[in-house]
Symmetry: C2
Subunit: 190 residues, 2 copies
């Protein structure tokens, strides 16, 4: 047994990510986590000294992986509408995966109970998303002012997070789909 350090650390992060997306940061338990990956809770502390360390590592990686995927989208196509559709698909996939949420969306709801290092990562995730959306929007609206793009990008991010939150609350993914459609109809998203 006893894979290399990074193997087990990796397994812990995968399990933790799934738990947080389903139940939130507060519901993340070292004992449950340990059970899932086949070690003891004390050993989880070996890889992540405190819960805050684990949470921050999770959020940081979540942002990094998201950024990498989004960059890939931008590089794949010049079609802003296509990029936007793929973007909405990301958040849909979380719902489709056992009614889960965006890691940073669910953490935003728990904000007051988060250690500072985790809170900082939540901010970075939002900024990263808005930054990407601005790039996409600027392709479709090259004449728009910087401030307009900024507000529009924030609005799209917030609207999609909200669609995910509400659809999750009602446990009905079709609410997400219909909401995104309405966003498109009204011109909020491309």
């Amino acid at each position: 047994m006893a894979r290399t350090k990074n193997d087990m650390r990796e397994a812990v992060m995968v399990a933790a990510k799934a738990t947080v997306q389903a139940h939130g940061y507060n519901a993340l338990s070292f004992r449950e986590l340990a059970k899932e990956v086949g070690i003891k809770s004390a050993s989880v502390h070996y890889h992540f000294p405190t819960k805050g360390d684990l949470g921050a590592a999770l959020a940081r990686r979540y942002t990094e992986e998201g950024a990498a995927y989004l960059a890939e989208l931008l590089a794949t196509s010049n079609d802003a509408s296509w990029c936007m559709e793929r973007y909405a698909d990301i958040f849909r996939a979380a719902l489709a995966n056992d009614n889960r949420m965006c890691l940073c969306g669910i953490m935003s709801a728990e904000l007051d109970d988060l250690p500072p290092e985790v809170r900082a990562e939540v901010d970075k995730f939002a900024a990263m998303n808005v930054g990407w959306l601005i790039k996409v929007l600027s392709r479709a609206k090259p004449s728009a002012s910087e401030q307009d793009l900024q507000e529009h990008g924030m609005a799209i991010f917030a609207a999609i997070e909200g669609a995910q939150l509400v659809a999750r609350g009602c446990q009905d993914i079709s609410i997400y789909d219909r909401t995104i459609r309405a966003y498109r109809t009204t011109g909020l998203i491309l």
Copy 2:
């Protein structure tokens, strides 16, 4: 001491509402709650046998009070835009009040840990809001189809919940304001 039953029950609900809006349902503790209202935790169980009972009572009242306020808005003015602004103001007020959230919004994030009776109330709150929004929209767009109105109402509700969630996550109420402005600019809201 020992006010009438309803006095203390009321005090518990007020304190519980504030706690849930700030920290979520899971963070609601009978001991903390009891300390705030000046009794012991066992006495809270006298008023609300289980935590689920308290949560469901909270959410039910939240929906009822919201519905009453919204009905008053509808009765006050025929101006759909004005009603919509007041609607957005409600969610803004929660943020202004110590970065709190919509009770049902924050509960949606915790959905999987909610007792069924609480979960049911979350659904009702969303339905109540969408129903009201449809009424407002139908005043402004009398020719729209029922399905369009439905989707548009859901979209507005989700977008505003999302704006609240994201602004809270960034602890910056100006994000809410700018997001709502963008919703108006793009034509999502009136």
